[in-house]
Amino acid sequence: MSCGLFRHKQGTVTLSCGALLLGTLAGLALFAPLIAPANPIDVNLSQRLIPPFESSALLGTDQLGRCVLSRLLHGARITFTAVFAILSFTVLSGTLLGCLAGQGPAWVDGLLTRFTDGVMAFPGLILALAIAGILGPGLSSVILALCGVQWVRFFRLARSMTASLRERAYVQAAIISGAGTWAIMIGHVLPKLLPSVAVLATLQMGRIVLSVSSLSFLGLGAIPPAPEWGAMLSESKTYMQSAPYLFFLPGFCIFLAVLGGQLMGMGLQKKLDLSRKGYL
C-alpha cells in the first residue's frame, strides 16, 4: 500500500491535465465569436481548399472556402452546448430516479430497473441512432436521443448506492426515527452520492462528445452548414486525397475533448479513491 500516496498524487496530475485541456477548449468555445478570425459559414468560392499556414486563414480553408479555424472554434461551441445540455439532464434525472428506485416501493424499483435493463440491452449508440433517426436529422434530435439513453448510467449508480446506503446504521436510525423519504434522501443519501456522481459525470463528458460527433458523422446530428466537428469530418472525407488536413483537424479536436474528459474523470476517480468500489 506504499503506492497509495503516489496514486493520490498521480491523480492530481491527471486531473489537472484533463481540467487544463477541457478548460482551454471550453474557454475557446465560450469566446469563439470574439476569437474566430472569420464567420464560420461564410462561403468564398475563390479561396477554396487552401492548405494551412498558406494564407490569412491560419488553418486553411475548406471545400467552400470557409475558414477552418473559425469553424473549429465555433464547432467547440456546438459540442460543449450539447454536452452541457445532455449532462445536466442525465445527471439530474438519472440520480433522482435512481434514489427513488433505491428507496421507494419495490414495484417502482422493479419497473425502473427492468426498463433500464431494456435500454442497456442495446449496445452503445444503436438505440440513440434509432431515436435520433425517428426525430429526424438535427442537433436537437441527437441531444434528445442521447438524453433518453444516457440517464440510465446515473440511474444505475444512484440506485445501487442508495440501496446499499439503506443498510447503513445511521440511515436505518433515521428511518426508525420517522424521517420522511425525501428528508433521508436529501439529508443522508445525496451527500454520499455526490462524489461518485461527479466522477461518473466527468467520465461521461468525453463519452458524450464522442457520441454526439459519431452521430453527426453519420449525418444525423448538426445539419450543414453548422460547423459541428463530426459533420465536418464526414464532409471532408471526399477531399481526403487533396486536402487531408480537412479530416485531420476536426478529428483531432474531438480526440482532445474526449481525452480531457477522460483524464479528468480518471484523476478525480483516483483522488477520491473510488476506483475499487466498482460502481463506475
Binding site: V43, S46, Q63, P137, P225, E235, T238, S242
Partner: protein, 520 residues
C-alpha cells in the same frame, strides 16, 4: 504444473502454425490475383445494384439491362433510332397503327426462339404492371403472323418507335416468368448472360456465344457495387475495378487525368440537376420571386469551381445532349445581385431583422430538400444556401435519402428540392413534359398551366418535325416565364478506364454507357 507449461507451449506452437498458414494463404491469394490479371474481365464499379432480374424495375440502373436484354428498337450513340429486335417498322399515316417486323432466328439465353407471341406477352405484362403509364397509349396488341407485332394506339402517336427504346421495355423469354408472372431469371436475348449475382456486391456476366449480333469480344463483365463515389474511385485507382463512372466524385477527374495509367472519357449527357420550386407554397407562388432568386445564383462561377469537369453550368432548359430540341433562348437568367434585390422589392419583400426578407409579417425562410448521402448535392446545397442569403432568403437544409426524396417530390412535400432531372434515354425530351413534370397528367406535376398543357398535347399529336421543334422551343420558353425549376448544371458523363483497355472505345452517353463491351 509442468504439464500446463507443455500445454501452453503446444498452444503457442499451434498459434504460430496457424499464423504461418494464414500468412501463406494470404500471399497465395495475392499471387492468385496478379496471376489472374493477365486475362482480365472487364470490372465495372457501379453505384447501384440491380433490384432484380426484371428489366422493368425502375430501381435498377440502366447500364446492366442493355447487356443482358434487348428492346425492339434502340438508340445509337448519336441518339438516332436504330433496329434491334425489330429490323424495320412502319406507322400508319394517322399515327394510330404501328407495325414492327421481328428479326429472324433470334433465340433467348435458354435457347427458346423469339416470336411475335412472346413480344406480345411481354408488352401485355408491362402495360399491366410497372410501365402502366408509359404504355398507356396502347389500345390493343395483335399478332398477324410469327414475325409481326401490331400496336393499335388510342390516339395519334408519332414517336412511338422512340418510346420503345428505353431499356425498361426489354423483352424477356417466357421461361423467365414464374406462375405469378414475375421475372425470376435473367433470360434475355442480349450479348451477355448472367452467371452469378450476389445482391449488393457483384453481378457476373458471361459472353453469350449465340448472340444475334455476334459473340462479344469480352468474355466476362463484372459489375461490382460500390456505393460511395470516392470509394469507387479509390477502388479504381487500386486496380480493383477497371472502368468507373466519375459521377459524383468531386476531386477525382483532376487527379486521374495526371495519371498515365488511366484514360478519361467525357461526353455531354442528357440530364441536368435541378432545384424544383414548389409553386403551391405561398412564399414561392410569385413567378417574380422565383426568377429573382434564380438571379442570385452565380452558376457560371459556382459550377466549374465546385464540380469541375463533371458538369456544365445550367443555362438552357435541357442539356445539349438533346441537340436541336433544346431552345436556343437561355432558360436561367443571368447572375445579377442588384437586379435580384430590386425584383424582390418590387414583389413586396422588404429587408427585415437580421437581413432576412419579410412580407406581411412572414420571413423568407425556405427548406431545401437534398439527398443526404451525396457529397456533390450537399456541397452545392451549402453554396446555394449561402448565395441566397445574400438577397435575404434563409435556407434550411433537409437531408433525406433517395427513396424518401422521390416520395416527397411526388407528394409535393417540399419548398425547394434538389434532384436530378428524370433520365429516361430518348432522342427528344418530349417525355419530360408529358410524363415527367409539366402536364396535367404528369407523375410529379411540378407546375402545370392550361397553356403549357395545350402545347404539350399539340406536340403529342404532331407528326411534322419542324413543327415539333417549334413546339418544343415554345414549351421551354413558356416554362422559362413560369420558372418552376432552376437548372443548376448539365451533367457530363465522365468515365475513367484503365489503359489496359486502350483498344476499347467505351461509349459515353446515358444508358448505352457500356454498349461497346458487346461489340464482336
Amino acid at each position: 504444473m509442468n504439464a500446463c507449461v507443455r500445454r501452453l507451449g503446444t498452444a503457442f506452437q499451434t498459434l504460430a502454425l496457424v499464423l504461418a498458414l494464414v500468412l501463406s494463404l494470404g500471399l497465395a491469394l495475392v499471387r492468385g490475383q496478379t496471376a489472374q490479371a493477365a486475362m482480365t474481365p472487364v470490372i465495372i464499379g457501379e453505384d447501384v445494384d440491380i433490384a432484380g432480374f426484371d428489366p422493368a424495375l425502375n430501381e435498377s440502373p440502366w447500364a446492366f439491362r442493355p447487356l443482358v436484354y434487348n428492346t425492339l428498337v434502340e438508340l445509337d450513340l448519336d441518339f438516332k433510332v436504330t433496329p434491334s429486335l425489330a429490323t424495320h417498322w412502319e406507322a400508319s399515316l394517322d399515327g394510330r397503327t404501328w407495325t414492327f417486323f421481328l428479326r429472324p432466328d433470334v433465340v433467348f439465353h435458354d435457347g427458346s426462339p423469339l416470336t411475335a407471341e412472346v413480344v406480345k406477352m411481354n408488352f401485355e405484362r408491362l402495360r399491366e404492371g410497372a410501365q402502366k403509364s408509359w404504355l398507356s397509349g396502347i389500345e390493343e396488341i395483335s399478332v398477324p403472323d410469327e414475325a409481326t407485332v401490331v400496336f393499335r394506339m388510342n390516339a395519334p402517336t408519332f414517336i412511338f418507335d422512340s418510346h420503345l427504346t428505353p431499356p425498361f421495355l426489354s423483352i424477356v423469354g417466357p421461361a423467365a416468368l414464374d406462375d405469378e408472372g414475375k421475372v425470376v431469371a435473367a433470360i434475355g436475348t442480349g450479348p451477355f448472360t448472367v452467371e452469378s449475382w450476389q445482391k449488393g456486391r457483384e453481378c457476373v456476366l458471361k459472353a453469350n456465344p449465340s448472340y444475334w449480333g455476334g459473340k462479344p469480344r469480352t468474355d466476362q463483365v463484372i459489375f461490382r457495387i460500390i456505393r460511395d463515389p470516392d470509394a469507387r474511385v479509390m477502388a479504381f485507382e487500386s486496380g480493383d475495378v477497371n472502368l468507373v463512372s466519375l459521377r459524383g466524385a468531386l476531386t477525382a477527374v483532376q487527379r486521374l487525368e495526371k495519371n498515365e495509367a488511366f484514360t478519361i472519357l467525357k461526353r455531354t449527357g442528357q440530364t441536368s440537376e435541378n432545384i424544383y420550386l414548389n409553386t403551391r407554397r405561398p412564399l414561392l407562388s410569385d413567378a417574380r420571386v422565383r426568377r429573382a432568386l434564380a438571379k442570385a445564383l452565380d452558376l457560371e462561377t459556382m459550377i466549374p469551381e465546385l464540380l469541375g469537369e463533371t458538369a456544365e453550368p445550367g443555362r438552357t432548359f435541357f442539356a445539349s445532349g438533346f441537340g436541336a430540341y433544346v431552345s436556343p433562348t437561355p432558360y436561367m437568367p443571368r447572375f445579377d445581385l442588384d437586379q435580384a434585390k430590386r425584383l424582390l422589392a418590387e414583389a413586396g419583400w422588404k429587408v427585415g431583422p437580421r437581413g432576412v426578407l419579410e412580407k406581411d409579417g412572414s420571413p423568407m425562410k425556405l427548406s431545401l430538400t437534398v439527398v443526404a448521402n451525396n457529397a456533390e448535392n450537399m456541397l452545392l446545397a451549402a453554396a446555394i444556401q449561402h448565395a441566397l442569403k445574400a438577397v435575404g432568403c434563409e435556407v434550411v437544409l433537409n437531408p433525406v435519402e433517395s427513396a424518401a426524396i422521390t416520395e416527397q417530390f411526388r407528394n409535393g412535400d417540399y419548398d425547394l428540392l434538389m434532384l436530378g432531372q428524370w433520365l429516361i434515354p430518348h432522342n427528344e425530351p418530349f417525355t419530360h413534359y408529358r410524363f415527367g413534370y409539366y402536364h396535367d397528367n404528369s407523375t410529379y406535376k411540378v407546375s402545370t398551366s392550361p397553356e403549357i398543357t395545350a402545347l404539350i398535347d399539340e406536340l403529342e399529336s404532331t407528326a411534322d418535325r419542324e413543327r415539333r421543334l417549334e413546339l418544343h422551343h415554345a414549351i421551354q420558353d413558356g416554362l422559362g416565364q413560369v420558372m418552376p425549376a432552376w437548372v443548376l448544371f448539365h451533367r457530363n458523363n465522365v468515365i475513367a478506364v484503365s489503359r489496359d483497355f486502350a483498344d476499347f472505345t467505351v461509349s459515353v452517353g446515358t444508358w448505352q454507357l457500356y454498349r461497346d463491351l458487346a461489340k464482336p
